[in-house]
């Protein structure tokens, strides 16, 4: 923080404002600077910071003093930051808020976001180095440019007014958004209560509901994201949407399944399908609900849940006994195998090869040696 010098914040002749961001807090290295939250301004020549409440507290440094900079992502309770590493202080440096610092870097902490844009513009300016195009002038000091001070002041005051306006608008937009959101939620709540009442009546068999009406009702629940209060599922299975999806999956997954020995973890399917779609992605529940109707739609795929809770999609033609027999063969052949070794042999993921070995063990063909070195399977000689 000792690289900063006091400035009046007025722009030089060829200097233009590039971007500014309010609610930025400065850090001297890893320590919070003894300054309040303020506005960070990036110009073609400098990085300027001004205290929001006390406009006279204004400091700046030349962009030429920056060695490099990087982003620091936000964390829980921590704002996103930009870390800026600086060259050592020059001997002719003007006075600033810090006499000395043990850190060669500073941080800008973005309390109200804006880091992405600021970082982008800073990168641009550091690449273009527009400050080199002009005759080098002394960084604006308290004594400099008093003649042109007046016109400069008007310029920056005009800009500041615009920004204040924009900020008020944004604030208004956000509170408007929250208001609209609340109103929307009130209406949504009515729908939830209505659907609960209907569901209860269906359960208690009051009135005559047709099959058709039940299907329609389920699709309403799906559209609204309301869980069926009786079964606790967000009613998905049995809707036309999921049946359609199931058909699509049936076509799409045949080849990948063949390539992977007839079985794929559901998470793998999720990634595969959504990457292919690009937009209008499936939710995890959509995928599960679609897979649940494979059998009733007579598609050649099955959803299967292992004891461990792992869910897979497998080809119906996937012959269990064959798989177990071949697992036994591989293990006997090699004497013993871990899930990782088995996976490598067959080109399967460790997760799925482990399930296959566990299955063979369940059927009594293999037995395990469980030690800290891992789980190893041997042919069952008992």
């Amino acid at each position: 923080m000792d690289r900063f010098a006091w400035t009046n914040g007025l722009l030089e002749m060829d200097e233009t404002l590039v971007v500014q961001q309010r609610s930025v807090k400065l850090y001297d290295g890893d320590d919070k600077a003894k300054l309040d939250v303020g506005i960070a301004l990036l110009t073609t020549h400098r990085l300027i910071w001004r205290d929001l409440k006390n406009h006279e507290c204004c400091i700046g440094l030349s962009l030429s003093q920056i060695i490099y900079f990087e982003e620091q992502a936000a964390g829980i309770g921590k704002s996103a930051k930009i870390v800026i590493h600086l060259y050592p202080v020059t001997s002719n440096k003007e006075p600033g808020p810090y006499q000395q610092s043990k850190f060669p870097f500073i941080k800008l902490s973005f309390k109200e976001h804006g880091q992405i844009e600021f970082f982008r513009r800073l990168t641009e300016e550091m690449t273009r180095k527009r400050w080199e195009n002009t005759v080098p002038q002394a960084v604006s000091t308290a004594t400099g440019s008093q003649q042109t001070g007046k016109t400069r002041a008007v310029g920056i005051v005009g800009i500041e007014r615009k920004i204040e306006q924009k900020r008020k608008e944004t604030d208004k937009n956000i509170s408007e958004a929250f208001e609209d959101l609340s109103q929307l939620m009130v209406k949504a709540k009515e729908m939830v209560e209505l659907s609960r009442s209907i569901a209860n009546k269906i359960k208690d068999r009051q009135g005559n509901i047709t099959e058709d009406e039940t299907v329609r009702f389920k699709s309403y629940l799906l559209s609204m994201g309301i869980a069926n209060p009786v079964t606790r599922e967000t009613h998905g299975s049995g809707t036309h949407y999921h049946m359609q999806l199931a058909k699509q999956l049936g076509d799409m997954l045949l080849a990948p399944l063949e390539e992977r020995g007839g079985m794929m973890a559901l998470t793998e399917v999720y990634c595969l399908v959504n990457r292919a779609r690009g937009m209008e992605l499936l939710s995890p529940e959509d995928l599960v609900n679609a897979c649940k109707v494979f059998e009733s739609m007579k598609l050649p795929l099955r959803l299967r849940v292992f004891d461990s809770g792992v869910m897979v999609v497998q080809l119906q033609s996937h012959n269990e006994e064959e798989m177990i027999a071949s697992a036994l063969d591989s293990v006997t052949d090699k004497g013993s195998l871990t899930a990782a070794e088995f996976g490598k042999l067959l080109g399967l993921s460790v997760l799925l090869s482990r399930e296959r070995l566990l299955l063979a063990e369940k059927m009594g063909h293999l037995c395990r040696d469980d030690s800290v070195e891992g789980l190893r399977f041997y042919p069952n000689l008992f």
Partner: protein, 258 residues
């Protein structure tokens, strides 16, 4: 003659039931479904209006997203349940979280050989952001948590373990009970833990401590440093900070003895 009587009687009975219901203010279910279909249409257009004004806000403002999610939860609505839901189709919230889900799965898969399927929320966040690139939509840790909650539906053992002032994200179906979790929390400060530390801090007997540590070793979540001065140290790769670790390839990992 009889038949007609029966028929007429049945109709009359139904009319009586209907009247009774209406009298008591109890509307019939089928009437309510008709009412609901009308309300759905009305709601849809309200949501469309809301979306046209505020869709961008949801995309850009993670605070707004949190508010939105919390309000939905309060009234009993899950906006992420289906890509076919109104919320997803009109507000676009779905795609944001479902894509995030894909990115989370991929990061966890890529690092599993190193950390056994356990990763800090911080590291996951950083790596996801990196993968998304500089100009992509900013993503908060709250966004990640919500995406992970949805992934649980696919049964692959996605879970979150509170540790320190943050979380560990588990992406494998390894069984971790309270004992394991507590030891993980103990290890969080230094990245490793010893049997003595467990005995001193948790007041467990040696056998219980060893059992828990052995399980973590077996699951690939902990690595044993038997050459540490004093007693063996059990290190958790998930807790290694980025700065002090080098990325290990799966081949190298296989050659290392646990």
């Amino acid at each position: 003659m009889h038949r007609r009587g029966v028929g007429a009687g049945a109709i009359a009975k139904k009319k009586l039931a209907e009247a009774k219901y209406k009298e008591r203010g109890n509307v019939l279910a089928e009437d309510q479904i008709v009412q609901m279909s009308k309300q759905i249409e009305a709601f849809k257009s309200h949501l469309e209006e809301f979306a046209s004004k505020h869709k961008q806000e949801i995309r850009k403002n993670s605070q707004f997203r949190v508010q939105f999610q919390e309000m939905c939860a309060t009234i009993g609505v899950d906006p992420l349940a289906s890509g076919k839901g109104f919320w997803s189709e009109m507000l676009g919230v779905g795609d944001f979280y479902y894509e995030l889900g894909v990115q989370i799965i991929e990061v966890c898969l890529a690092l599993k050989h190193r950390n056994g399927g356990l990763i800090t929320l911080d590291e996951l966040h950083q790596r996801v952001l990196k993968g998304r690139g500089k100009y992509a939509q900013d993503v908060s840790q709250d966004d990640l948590v919500r995406a992970i909650k949805k992934l649980k539906a696919m049964g692959n053992g996605f879970g979150m373990i509170p540790v320190g002032d943050s979380y560990l994200v588990q992406s494998v179906p390894a069984e971790l009970n309270m004992d394991h979790t507590v030891v993980l929390q103990l290890a969080e400060k230094k990245g490793y833990v010893t049997v003595s530390e467990i005995k001193d801090n948790l007041k467990w007997e040696r056998e219980r401590s060893c059992q828990v540590l052995d399980h973590l070793l077996k699951e690939g979540l902990a690595w044993l440093d038997s050459q540490a001065p004093g007693e063996p140290q059990y290190w958790l790769p998930a807790l290694f900070s980025e700065l002090s670790s080098r990325d290990v390839t799966p081949e190298e990992a296989n050659q290392m003895t646990p």
